[in-house]
Symmetry: C2
Subunit: 425 residues, 2 copies
């Protein structure tokens, strides 16, 4: 038995069988450095898809912040501490003035739990509108509305799914598509009212990740929020995957869509890997809740996590990483467009900055999802020491979501490997 096989056997013995590993031959990692992951044999892999180590694996600023804070104090939020306030202030400054109130959580799941709880309390309603093929978390109240995973059991009666505004593969694609997609929302609100739940919230991934990197047409979010508010509900922008400058154009993706959400939920990249998430709210929506409830979450907003979060914001600013994401993202898209001249399997390239989805198809005429090819491609790239993954309803979208310190040189290596791997398949 190889070391890797022995490790897998040990893992299968100790951990729950519902855990999964990436790749046919899983990687045994020991070190991370910027955009590189290093395995036990010293092999170096270019990381083109991990969006949690936002400013790069083991970024010295995060390492220093965590090392310093863990040595001093790591206590809960029922005492006063400077770091949580410094962090909240810097974080809130990235939002519109109306989004003025921060809550911290340990995971994106908890952030969405809190946003829904606050929305229900503020509106007095229970109903939720979600997009199809969305994933918002793994707690019961969240996975039961995560349309990617509900399967045959279907949504609970209080939740209605609307089609993701996918102009490539969605049910509406023409000039009037936007109106049709909005109409689904209005009808869903009406149905929730008829069922007696009312509308508490609509929740959307601002770039719909599980849906296959769906970027909605301009006007969708703004008008969706209007419809929801007219129906008495609130609009929750889930920026757990898309936020913190990743898309390059805006710090928060919703900001490019001329809408101010009622709640914004944050997670993955927030602490560069430390368990840090957040629910940012408009103050008016949380005052009623505070009169009858306390909010306490043992590990949320602890100094060590906030120190990591603060380092992330500082580095994004100092190293101008949002602009880097836009620049290198455009370079990547141009490179993929060039590869597409040679490869009919490249059906579409979408997203922006470092939130790019490469839509792989059997051929561009039918645009049928190339699920098997995508899996083979990922394994072939991994053999060439470039790491990526698949997403989307048909698992045919190659994720390009590298750490924000990914350079043009890294992009060229990715493009070269992508081309070589496609040619070899």
């Amino acid at each position: 038995m190889s070391d890797i096989e022995a490790m897998i056997a040990r893992r299968n013995r100790l951990l729950g069988p519902a855990y999964r590993l990436f790749y046919d031959a899983p990687l045994h990692l020991v070190k991370g450095e910027g955009v590189w992951l290093i395995d036990a044999d010293g092999g170096r892999y270019l990381d083109t898809y991990n969006n949690v180590p936002h400013i790069g694996h083991s970024h010295p600023a995060v390492v220093a912040a965590v090392q310093s804070q863990i040595a001093d104090l790591n206590i809960h939020t029922r005492y006063l501490h400077d770091t949580i306030l410094d962090y909240a202030e810097k974080l809130l400054a990235t939002f519109e003035p109306a989004l003025d109130t921060a809550h911290f959580c340990c995971s994106g799941t908890e952030a969405n739990e809190l946003a829904l709880r606050l929305a229900r309390d503020a509106t007095g309603n229970q109903g939720v509108i979600v997009t199809e093929c969305a994933y918002h978390g793994h707690s019961q109240a969240i996975y039961e509305i995560s349309t990617r995973d509900v399967g045959a059991r279907g949504l609970p009666d209080y939740a209605i799914a609307v089609p993701a505004p996918d102009l490539l593969r969605g049910p509406h694609r023409g000039a009037d598509a936007l109106a049709h997609y909005l109409d689904h929302i209005a009808k869903a609100a009406e149905t929730l009212n008829q069922r007696g739940y009312g509308v508490a919230a609509m929740i959307v991934d601002t770039i719909q990740s599980s849906g296959g990197t769906v970027v909605p047409p301009m006007g969708y979010y703004r008008q969706a929020a209007e419809i929801i508010r007219q129906a008495g509900g609130l609009f929750i922008a889930d920026e757990v995957q898309a936020g913190f400058g990743r898309a390059g154009t805006d710090f928060w993706v919703y900001q490019g869509h001329d809408v101010v959400p009622d709640f914004v939920t944050l997670g993955k990249p927030m602490g560069n890997g430390m368990p840090l998430a957040g629910c940012i709210a408009q103050r008016a929506h949380v005052e009623g809740f505070a009169r009858s409830h306390k909010y306490f979450n043992t590990f949320a907003g602890i100094p060590v996590s906030c120190a990591a979060g603060l380092a992330v914001l500082n580095v994004l600013e100092q190293e101008n990483l949002q602009a880097n994401a836009l620049d290198v993202g455009n370079h990547l898209k141009a490179g993929v467009a060039k590869l597409a001249e040679e490869h009919d399997a490249i059906g579409d390239i979408r997203g922006s900055g470092f939130f790019i989805g490469l839509d792989l198809v059997t051929d561009r005429k039918t645009m049928n999802p190339a699920t098997a090819l995508t899996k083979s491609l990922i394994e072939a790239m991994k053999e060439r020491h470039v790491l990526s993954g698949a997403i989307g309803p048909d698992m045919n979208i190659l994720k390009i979501r590298p750490p924000m310190v990914f350079t043009r040189d890294h992009a060229d290596l990715l493009l070269e490997t992508l081309g070589a791997s496609l040619r070899a398949l």
Copy 2:
């Protein structure tokens, strides 16, 4: 405006209004060292109630483990990593062989979410039995069964509360109390069957913290588990507060009650303040789930948290801290008993090791809860630089749950301060 007032104002402006602070004059903390918390003015406070910094604030072993791991790699569980396996192995060795499968989470809330989800999947049932005045977490599926907080809204139809087996203040106190408390469980199971939910699980805090440090009579858990299993459900021991040797007698409190739970949930002390929690399961209960579901939780089981968890287990062992908890806990209880000769307000002292509740009463004849006195006492002790807090349905139980490195000298300081504060009130 004082510095503290300015800080509170800043906090009120930035954070959600549902956040709360401890004490009339909240503490601005900057440093933690073992059992000591240090404020911005250099004031040193003896910490007698924080159960998260399990082996002491800023324990060098945890500091070193976190500092080393954060510099190397901090990645999710879909790659192979040694630390999660080393930790899982050492952790599982503290349980009976039947509890052989580990899942990691970011919070006790998430651990209870997962346990309930797994129990429902394994049994095909939905119903839940909880004890009165219990707190299990803040996500929707958990807070709606957290009887401490449900208030007028009541429990959902699928959940039934049974009285906590409180021999001091509960509805049954005599020789036949145990039989009565068990009868409540049997009746609840019957009702859940009649309502069509069946019984998925009973969940209990093994020392009922929010209920006021209720230690059930011997036989309660064992027979409760039997009743639940006969009804087709599973038994979840919530050791989030009580576990990791705190009670002194056993590493897990259920182990003193001759029962092997189906799931055990872990949290607070697990990573000495790092966001680490867990759900330990009997393998047979999770195999069906794994056939149809994946389990992934971005920040759960990351190397940095597991390194902290491993350091905690090592130090507990090396420094013999469970035995210390029992020894110093007994010393504390003897000291409180001596104080009780002088103070009629000390109605009861219960729990064991470093999970002690001091039940304060208006007088020992009526045993009426002394809620106001408890609050004053906590403030008076804080003025003397000894930190404690209140718990229980009437907030009249003084928590004595210090870090596990609390010595007899610390205990004497606590007892001296407790005595002086009681005399001064």
